[in-house]
């Protein structure tokens, strides 16, 4: 292999940097176009009624999607309560104790589950919960979303806890601190920012899911009557209103899309801030 001349290497270096920069710009442009489009279409829908009123029949102006906003929050909150504790504990187990066949299998199936199409999880929740109980419900939607969140929380928690240097845990054990206290009160707090980041990103991921909700939450024009009734959600409003022929409804759909984008953006931002705080603290 012959040595390249310095001027050629410099040219090649600049050329490759330009290619990389171009790719970054393309990624940025796609995001910018989507966001700009959603904002330009959606901002007109945002007003007081949008956030406080129920949907109105076609032809009547002044309706809102308050029930869908509350419904989305309710479903995602329930899903988080189900998925985050189980996922975090499973991730801690995998990071610190998981070495046998069980752990290897949990890891493998988590990875498969992460890539599972969400509509498959929707039909799973439909046949497992909605059909036996005989009705669409908020809790079936929460369970479907929890299934999607679980593997994300498990693997991000595992990675975060794995990043904690082993000498920290050994230092705790060497003081005569019992293993469970060393794990929960010394090791895990070091990984706290990473765990919170993973949980927030999984929330961001499922907040926009619509396919599983079609089979489970179903949607509703009214305030929810409880956990076992059909419930409205933002992604469902986007889907149903967006394909409707009525401009008023389409406008609401754009508004919902904007609210979702802002929500996901905010969650990502919070996750990022939590992470950067950790880095600067060390």
């Amino acid at each position: 292999m012959g040595l390249k001349s310095p001027s050629f290497r410099k040219f090649w270096n600049v050329f490759m940097i330009l290619i990389s920069a171009l790719c970054c710009v393309v990624c940025g442009i796609v995001l910018a176009i989507v966001v700009a489009f959603v904002i330009s279409k959606g901002y007109k829908a945002l007003n007081w009624n949008f956030f406080t009123k129920l949907p109105l029949p076609v032809g009547m102006s002044g309706g809102g999607v308050a029930n869908a906003i509350v419904g989305s929050i309710e479903i995602v909150l329930m899903a988080s309560l189900l998925a985050v504790p189980i996922g975090v504990l499973a991730g801690i187990y995998l990071a610190l104790f998981g070495r046998g066949h069980l752990a290897a299998n949990v890891r493998f199936f988590s990875d498969v589950l992460t890539g599972m199409p969400s509509i498959a999880i929707g039909i799973f929740a439909y046949s497992l919960i909605v059909i036996p109980t005989g009705h669409f419900s908020a809790y079936s939607a929460a369970i479907a979303l929890a299934v999607i969140m679980l593997p994300i929380v498990v693997r991000t928690t595992e990675e975060a806890v794995r990043l904690v240097p082993g000498v920290i845990r050994e230092g705790a054990l060497a003081l005569g601190i019992p293993a469970w206290k060393s794990t929960l009160l010394v090791t895990v707090p070091v990984a706290r920012a990473g765990i919170v980041t993973g949980a927030l990103l999984s929330v961001a991921r499922v907040t926009g899911e619509s396919a599983p909700l079609l089979f489970t939450a179903f949607g509703s024009q009214f305030w929810t009557k409880g956990f076992s009734s059909p419930i409205a959600a933002l992604p469902l409003v986007i889907f149903i209103n967006g394909i409707s022929p009525y401009p008023d409804w389409q406008q609401l759909a754009w508004g919902c899309a904007l609210v979702l984008v802002v929500l996901v953006f905010a969650l990502n931002l919070i996750a990022r801030l939590a992470f950067s705080r950790r880095v600067s603290a060390n």
């Binding site: 230092g171 060497a174 019992p178 707090p189 603290a281």
Partner: protein, 273 residues
């Protein structure tokens, strides 16, 4: 047994420190025998150094003494470690009790990153149970930091992060943390190898101050350090199939002037390792 230091008889170790004895101790990583059949009697209140080339099993042996070896997956030890006459490897002995009685300082300073300086010192006391006595938490923290010769440097910033200190200060913080639970024995695994020369001197001074109150066992790569600081020296060497054995164990002055074993002499005079 009389203690000899630098050729001069040392002050007789009048001590309340606890005795530690190793009988036929072998350590394994899975099927690999890493340390074979070690017998040693550590003088109470004295400083014993373990020296030898990399991979000779000196750190492994050290970690067997407070049952930290078995924390590594598939690692196990056989034989007896007698602390004040009690075998720590007897069934029914709780390893967490053992570790409270035998403190440990690691090669790299490892203060807990989420805790302040004072929380680091008190971590063991809070999470492993308060040592006997009616001292308050503040008193324990101050006493431990003073013993670790760190108090004057940190007394005005006790509530800053432990990781905000310099490397040498962090290591003394870890020593304070180990002392806070009031151990009987202190194990030090190359405590100064990650530190600059000035910090190293401070750690060595500190060891000499703690001498007498604690039975101290230190693993070191640095032969000068062993010669400077220790009363006794054990030389370990890995033979065939990387199994470490104790070659010779005697007072430090004898080890460094008139070793019995040819291999000890070769190592100490720098002919290998």
């Amino acid at each position: 047994m009389q203690t000899i230091e630098n050729g001069q008889p040392a002050q007789t170790t009048e001590t309340t420190a606890t005795s530690l004895e190793v009988k036929n101790l072998s350590a394994y990583y899975g099927k690999h025998l890493a340390v074979k059949g070690v017998n040693m009697n550590f003088e109470p209140g004295a400083i014993t150094a373990l020296i030898g080339p990399s991979g000779c099993g000196k750190s492994t042996l050290l970690r067997c003494l407070n049952r930290m070896h078995e924390v590594i997956p598939n690692a196990r030890a056989e034989g007896e470690v007698l602390l004040d006459g009690q075998n720590l490897y007897e069934p029914g002995v709780d390893p967490t009790d053992t570790r409270r009685r035998i403190g440990m300082v690691f090669q790299r300073p490892n203060p807990f990153p989420t805790m302040t300086i004072v929380d680091n010192v008190l971590a063991g006391v809070r999470l492993a149970g308060k040592p006997p006595g009616d001292a308050t938490m503040e008193e324990i923290a101050e006493k431990s930091l003073r013993r670790a010769a760190l108090w004057d440097e940190v007394k005005d910033k006790l509530h800053k992060a432990g990781t905000s200190l310099s490397g040498g200060q962090q290591q003394r913080l870890c020593i304070a943390r180990a002392l806070a639970v009031d151990p009987e024995v202190l194990l030090m695994d190359e405590p100064a190898s990650a530190l600059d020369p000035i910090s190293t001197v401070k750690i060595e001074e500190l060891m000499r101050e703690l001498r007498g109150a604690y039975t101290i066992i230190i693993v070191t790569h640095n032969m000068q350090q062993a010669a400077r600081c220790s009363d006794y020296t054990g030389f370990m060497l890995a033979g065939e199939s990387a199994t470490g054995e104790l070659v010779e164990f005697d007072s430090t002055s004898k080890m460094f002037t008139t070793p019995k074993e040819k291999r000890t002499e070769d190592y100490i005079t720098g002919r290998f390792g």
